[in-house]
């Protein structure tokens, strides 16, 4: 699905990502764990194209996407969410989802000028699609709420639903449980399992290790910008370097 080879990302001499290689297999949730400052989020940003790599190669579905900007990667199905909530605050929940929909004739300047008759059929079809997602994620009642007014957990769900509107092939989730009430954590985990069972491939940065154990296989461990271990969570618990660097650290 995605192969990253020898990825480096430097910030004025600081090696945030230092020669990371990773292979993401389709239909699985790959976990990416490590202590704070390990370079996980930077690596994810490099994969998504929101940060350019200093060097290295990224191949997605057989095509080299290393030099592609984020928006072109997203259009090819490589979609990310963010560590901090990144909702469009002054748009409603439904609008947040509709923004992500890729095939609306009113999305171009010319389409907009041609008027509602031109784009309304697409709009209504996408509204139905978005409402289907809202129903699936239990957010129908919040459809017309401003995204800024939602709780942390609800914002996470909006981000995931928004990404799904793009019909991604690989979804990169950056700490989807972060800042979320424990009661919602289980709910989000259930949704992610459903998405995996539906055939979606996910890469997830997460600190909640019990959730990583429940959802992710394989798991990749990073520390100081490098990969220091990979395998199942159970196997990683037996690796001394991983345990020293992270699991008891």
């Amino acid at each position: 699905m995605l192969g990253a080879r020898n990825i480096h990302r430097h910030f004025e001499g600081m090696h945030a990502v230092d020669g990371v290689s990773i292979e993401i297999m389709p239909g699985r949730i790959t976990g990416l764990i490590g202590p704070n400052g390990a370079g996980k989020s930077t690596f994810m940003a490099v994969l998504a194209g929101t940060l350019p790599a200093s060097s290295g190669t990224i191949v997605f579905q057989g095509q080299d996407i290393t030099r592609l900007p984020a928006y072109q990667r997203a259009r090819r199905g490589l979609v990310r969410t963010f560590q901090l909530p990144s909702e469009f605050g002054q748009l409603t929940v439904l609008e947040n989802l509709l923004v992500a929909a890729p095939d609306n004739r009113g999305e171009s300047l010319l389409g907009a000028l041609l008027g509602k008759r031109y784009w309304m059929p697409d709009e209504m079809r996408l509204v139905e699609q978005a409402r289907g997602l809202l129903k699936r994620f239990g957010m129908s009642a919040k459809e017309s709420d401003y995204a800024a007014s939602l709780s942390g957990g609800q914002k996470r769900l909006v981000e995931i639903m928004r990404a799904l509107m793009l019909r991604p092939r690989l979804l990169l989730l950056d700490e989807p449980m972060s800042g979320v009430h424990p009661s919602i954590v289980n709910e989000i985990a259930g949704y992610l399992e459903q998405l995996r069972d539906d055939g979606l491939t996910l890469l997830m940065v997460e600190h909640e290790l019990h959730m990583v154990e429940r959802l992710c296989d394989p798991v990749v461990v990073m520390a100081e910008g490098k990969v220091i271990g990979r395998g199942s969570m159970a196997a990683l618990r037996q690796e001394r370097e991983v345990v020293d660097a992270y699991l008891v650290g």
Partner: protein, 335 residues
């Protein structure tokens, strides 16, 4: 109230409404802080002027120096003004909007405004320098008598038609999926790009559209005033338009129109009338006007950041009921 004063007010209102609708598209809807907005209005005004004026070798015009002088019939100078504004947006946008972060974009655009004014002020062979252009022919000059009340009404009508066209364009953009994407970019550019939106292309497009509309507003203005000089488009003029959009309400066209009527027109008229009351030295009222504009911006940003008419919530047919002040139902308007 005499006809000329009424025409003056209405035409200035039309020009300000057009300008505020354009700035609202850029700043209010898309989040592009275009501190060089007035340059695009000026480009339209100069373009319309040199397209409608005779060559600077003509007997009555030989005291000026300028490029062009094509004596094109109306409405070509107005169309040319709009095209000039849009074309100017291309090089400026390509330099400023592609790589710079939003705050640096604003600074770069402010500097662009100052540089443009300084260059035109000092390069006399281009557009007659600081003295500016005078005797700019009014639309249909030579075809009908322009020194009548009827002509004033005609000019008001022409301005109103332009306001209606610009409203139509702005409304279609703001209320479309394209407008929604622009608002998403305003809210979080990085997240929008991660969802497959190209922020540079979006900003460039709205920069060109806004530039063209600004150019049209300049063309209307110069046709009425018949003069145009660097002193009429100093960078603080842009701040007045920003104040209008902030006061009226960012992100919606009704707010932009209200802002245009309250700030550039209403506010300046009030202070102009105060100036006639001989309070203090002659420079006091104009200076206080700038202080008040600044306080107005600060006051609204602090106490009512969404403006007098806040951006409307978009509710789709069949949505669960929301307790809301004002909302926009897609396809129709509702309270």
């Amino acid at each position: 109230m005499n006809t000329y004063y009424a025409a003056n007010l209405l035409i200035f209102a039309g020009v300000d409404i057009i300008a505020c609708l354009a700035l609202n598209l850029q700043f209010g809807v898309s989040g592009v802080v275009n501190f060089s907005f007035i340059v695009f209005q000026a480009a339209g005004a100069y373009a319309a002027a040199v397209l409608s004026m005779p060559p600077d070798t003509a007997p009555d015009y030989s005291f000026q120096i300028y490029v062009g002088g094509y004596q094109l019939p109306f409405p070509l100078p107005w169309i040319g003004g709009a095209i000039a504004g849009g074309l100017l947006a291309l090089p400026i946008g390509l330099v400023v909007l592609r790589r710079l972060r939003a705050d640096y974009q604003a600074i770069a655009l402010l500097v662009t405004s100052i540089i443009a004014n300084t260059v035109i002020n000092n390069a006399r062979p281009v557009l007659n320098g600081a003295a500016g252009l005078v005797l700019v022919p009014q639309p249909l000059d030579g075809v009908i008598n322009t020194n009548t009340n009827s002509y004033q009404y005609l000019y008001i009508g022409l301005t109103a038609i332009c306001v209606a066209i610009v409203w139509f364009v702005a409304a279609r953009i703001v209320n479309s999926p394209y407008g929604r994407t622009l608002r998403a970019m305003r809210e979080n550019e990085l997240a929008a790009s991660a969802l497959g939106k190209n922020p540079t292309a979006l900003k460039m497009a709205i920069f060109v559209v806004g530039g063209a509309i600004a150019g049209l507003s300049g063309a209307i203005l110069v046709g009425f005033l018949q003069v145009w000089a660097p002193s009429t488009w100093l960078y603080p003029e842009t701040i007045i338009l920003f104040a209008a959009v902030i006061v009226g309400g960012r992100g919606n066209n009704v707010g932009a129109i209200l802002g245009a009527l309250l700030v550039p027109l209403g506010f300046e008229e009030v202070t102009r009338l105060l100036g006639r009351m001989n309070i203090g030295p002659p420079t006091l009222i104009p200076a206080l006007e700038w202080v008040c504009i600044g306080l107005l911006i600060l006051g609204f940003l602090w106490f009512r950041p969404k403006g007098v008419v806040p951006e409307q919530r978009r509710v789709f047919p069949g949505a669960p009921a929301v307790e809301d002040e004002t909302r926009w139902v897609v396809g129709k308007r509702a309270r």
